[in-house]
Symmetry: C2
Subunit: 237 residues, 2 copies
Amino acid sequence: MSQNEVKALVFDVFGTVVDWRTSIINECLVLGKQKDINIDWSQFVDNWRAGYRPAMDTIRNDSADWRILDELHMEILLGLLKSYSISLNSDEIIHLNKCWHRLHPWDDSVNGITRLNSRFITATLSNGNVSLLTNMAKFAKLPWTCILSAEIFKHYKPDDEVYKGAANILDLKPNQVMMVAAHKSDLLAAKSNGLVTAYINRPYEFGNYSVEVEDVEKDIDIWASDLESLADQLECN
Amino acid sequence: MSQNEVKALVFDVFGTVVDWRTSIINECLVLGKQKDINIDWSQFVDNWRAGYRPAMDTIRNDSADWRILDELHMEILLGLLKSYSISLNSDEIIHLNKCWHRLHPWDDSVNGITRLNSRFITATLSNGNVSLLTNMAKFAKLPWTCILSAEIFKHYKPDDEVYKGAANILDLKPNQVMMVAAHKSDLLAAKSNGLVTAYINRPYEFGNYSVEVEDVEKDIDIWASDLESLADQLECN
């Protein structure tokens, strides 16, 4: 473990820092009540999220030109609205699509990042586009030092270009950057590019408590129950 | 004036937010004392800064591939060290070149930006590279919402691509973005790309009080004596 060299922490955001699922379900429930639409909104939101990986993979495989996550979210949303026979006007659709900019943090996130700022540069390293992450920083009061995004590197995680790009744009060596994420695949890709890794346990990301904890301990440098715990382990006051 | 639409303020940094000249002269004076080098360090620093515009222009004119400002600063510095017959080892040269990452804010900057954050997204929009601006944000405690840089757009100000790119990456229309700068040329370029403009008066940027105030009032939307005054005019508590 080479965490003594670390100068910057870069964070996965969806699931690691913000509770996207509860946030979006709650927005959809309000919309459903307003518009008298009675469907299983949890399933709707899970379907929306399920479209994310295949949409990104069309770009990761170089079969499609670069498009930001807002556009991918919109494409998936339009398909879902059609399949659920939900009729909204264009302003309502645009507002709904931007619910991904209005995600609430986990209870420990703001204080955890604030404490980590006492010793480190903190940055997003998310597949969300820059405006999504910037609006979310304002909405959720996330005190990032800077916003880094797949959009800057024109590659989606887990492409190597994102992890190498983050170290390069911060003028740091890979082993001076720690990837912080709640997903093993993100950390393994970061590790294969030389970054230090911290796993954050988020058993409620997909709703009910997940009993199936990811088996990551042998692969990563730090295991933390939340961002306050990470700040404790990195000796941040 | 359409400042009621403004959602984001983007800031020139060198001169507008930080006092680059005093900061660097003071670092050079310490170095000179340590190494027993007795030259006119103010002149040295002014020469360093004077090399900045021609170096950028070689890139703006497409005659050279993109290079970040740290590299341009290094090229100019190496020439100056040679012409002054100053001998430093490579670690000392790298450290000296990065004094541009360690610039002190004007007295009103941190509080001004903090107040502006109560109503707006605040972002850098500087020719400095991302790592320079990120390290400076930590060093000077500048609470930006996000870091935008010429490096992201691979164009230096006053190229149109920087101003258009800032609005685009923030998912805003140009008239929802206000350029904040102490330099008329920056503001005129921003205005020609549809941005709203705020001039900050920094008469001490180049040392002694400048009696030659730039005649900008007819060209810009807001004239402010400093960032606290800008916060007052934009009704930020």
